[in-house]
């Protein structure tokens, strides 16, 4: 049995930020929770290695690769439930702001690999090379996906202002 010391503590501390990373991929809190649990199960199996260094980066890579490899197929259909879940209350008064709703809609409209690239590159702060390696892509492909995703995000009126700020005229 491999040593799992520290895994529970890590999950307790990192859960909220990792869940936000999963949300960038899924744009849905319930799917994000399920994706994160899946990633943590995989991390648990490799914890002595994952926990030595940067576990956040490890989990985020697992999130991205898991999401890219089967996530779309797994959730193509509806999962039957006995009862309809209660809708989540807003997490804060700004939950339903135009920007956040627009961001969710914009992310949901992106192809999954573009979302994975955005999450690793800009949310997890990986380099282009590291992003490419994590996803099994070429660096040029990462650049291309980024450019396409940026163009798609800028096409949305509700968030395009944020993406124009700071850009060189």
């Amino acid at each position: 049995m491999r040593d799992r010391v520290g895994f529970d503590e890590y999950v307790a501390a990192a859960w909220p930020r990792l869940l936000r990373s999963a949300w960038v991929l899924t744009a849905d809190w319930s799917l994000a929770e399920d994706l994160l649990q899946t990633a943590l199960l995989k991390t648990y199996a490799r914890w002595p290695l994952a926990g030595d260094g940067s576990p956040d980066a490890y989990v985020r890579r697992v999130l991205a690769t898991t999401y890219v490899s089967w996530w779309r197929r797994r959730w193509r259909g509806e999962v039957p439930t006995a009862e309809l879940p209660e809708p989540d209350p807003p997490a804060d008064p700004h939950e339903h702001t135009t920007v956040r709703m627009g961001l969710a809609a914009a992310l949901a409209a992106l192809p999954r690999q573009q979302r994975a690239v955005l999450m690793l590159r800009y949310h997890a702060d990986l380099t282009e090379a590291a992003t490419a390696q994590a996803l099994g892509l070429g660096v040029g492909t990462v650049k291309r996906y980024t450019a396409r995703a940026l163009a798609a995000l800028r096409a949305r009126p509700d968030i395009q202002d944020l993406l124009m700020e700071g850009t060189t005229p």
Binding site: L19, W29, G53, P89, A91, T127, T168
Partner: protein, 310 residues
């Protein structure tokens, strides 16, 4: 392409504007729930095996059991989704199919405690696959069926499992085309016990026998890196000749008393060294890639990783 301003804008958008989780999700489910989920995955697999389709086969063959793909994903819904149209046979192909995507069974592992045989499945994502095993005293023949799924096809790496009725023992595993599918005892699969400082992000790729993952031959590839160093660890079935060598021998050493060669690759833009040795029917290769070429340091790191495989 994007520039620095674009990068800053995207970083801000995807950090500052990503919402906080709703209250009910702000705490993790706890290790108990995660452990229960792990158990549920295994139990779900067993339940599916119990409800498996039994295929009546030609004389001399035994019954077959089937399992749904095990993608290491969330627990399956308790009610299986309707599957129409019915499953149709899928034959792995050795070349690109009409969609330009692969359907291929890759090497696998066997867990002796529950006779669960897992193999890699590289497919086109156009079907929802099920693996079947037809067992004889000498062989285990694997078959795939699939039910079409809607949406665009895309290349997917899966692990797919089937529970055998009898221990695998010395029986050979073959794919639908009769080609051997190498199967490794789970306990023989080695994991790195040491990685250089700062290299902690290990990606365990699916088993493969294609060149698409950078793996020649058949086996497993792990890759780990930080911004300065990339490490690739391959465990390949067969001899170095079958698994491939990349470069000229620049030095020799030993790993756990097995003769090893250190190869300098000329095929990569970034300087790369590989430490390669053969043991117990496998070829192990530790590849290290530095931003700058420091042969002594690269050999030292590769040797440390090799000495600490477990």
């Amino acid at each position: 392409m994007t520039g620095p301003d674009d990068d800053r804008a995207l970083t801000r958008l995807l950090t500052e504007h990503v919402p906080d989780p709703p209250e009910r999700l702000r705490r993790p489910p706890g290790s108990g729930l995660l452990a229960a989920r792990l158990h549920r995955r295994r139990a779900g697999t067993a339940a599916l095996a119990a409800a498996a389709v039994v295929l009546v086969t030609a004389a001399g063959y035994g019954a077959a059991v089937t399992l749904r793909p095990d993608r290491g994903g969330p627990a399956a819904p308790t009610t299986p989704p309707p599957r129409t149209p019915a499953n149709h046979p899928i034959e792995p192909v050795s070349d690109l199919d009409k969609h330009g995507l692969l359907v291929m069974l890759n090497p696998g592992t066997i867990d002796p405690t529950d006779h669960l045989l897992r193999v890699g499945l590289e497919h086109r994502g156009c079907d929802d696959y099920t693996l079947h095993a037809v067992e004889t005293p000498a062989t285990v023949r694997l078959f795939l069926t699939g039910a079409p799924v809607s949406g665009d096809c895309d290349r997917v790496l899966d692990t797919i499992a089937v529970r055998l009725q009898q221990p695998l023992s010395n029986r050979h595993v073959r794919d639908p085309l009769g080609q051997p599918v190498p199967v490794l005892h789970e306990r023989d699969r080695l994991y790195p016990g040491y990685l250089p400082p700062g290299v902690g992000d290990l990606i365990d790729l699916q088993p493969s026998r294609t060149t698409s993952l950078g793996l020649r031959g058949q086996g497993w590839l792990y890759t780990a890196d930080n911004r300065d160093l990339t490490v690739r660890i391959r465990q390949c079935f067969g001899s170095p000749a079958a698994c491939g060598r990349s470069g000229d021998v620049v030095a020799r050493s030993t790993v756990h008393l097995h003769p090893a060669e250190i190869l300098k690759s000329a095929a990569h833009v970034t300087p790369q060294l590989e430490l390669q040795w053969e043991a117990n029917g496998y070829t192990f290769t530790i590849g290290v890639e530095f931003g700058r070429y420091d042969q002594d340091e690269m050999i030292r790191q590769a040797q440390l990783i090799a000495n600490n495989l477990y």
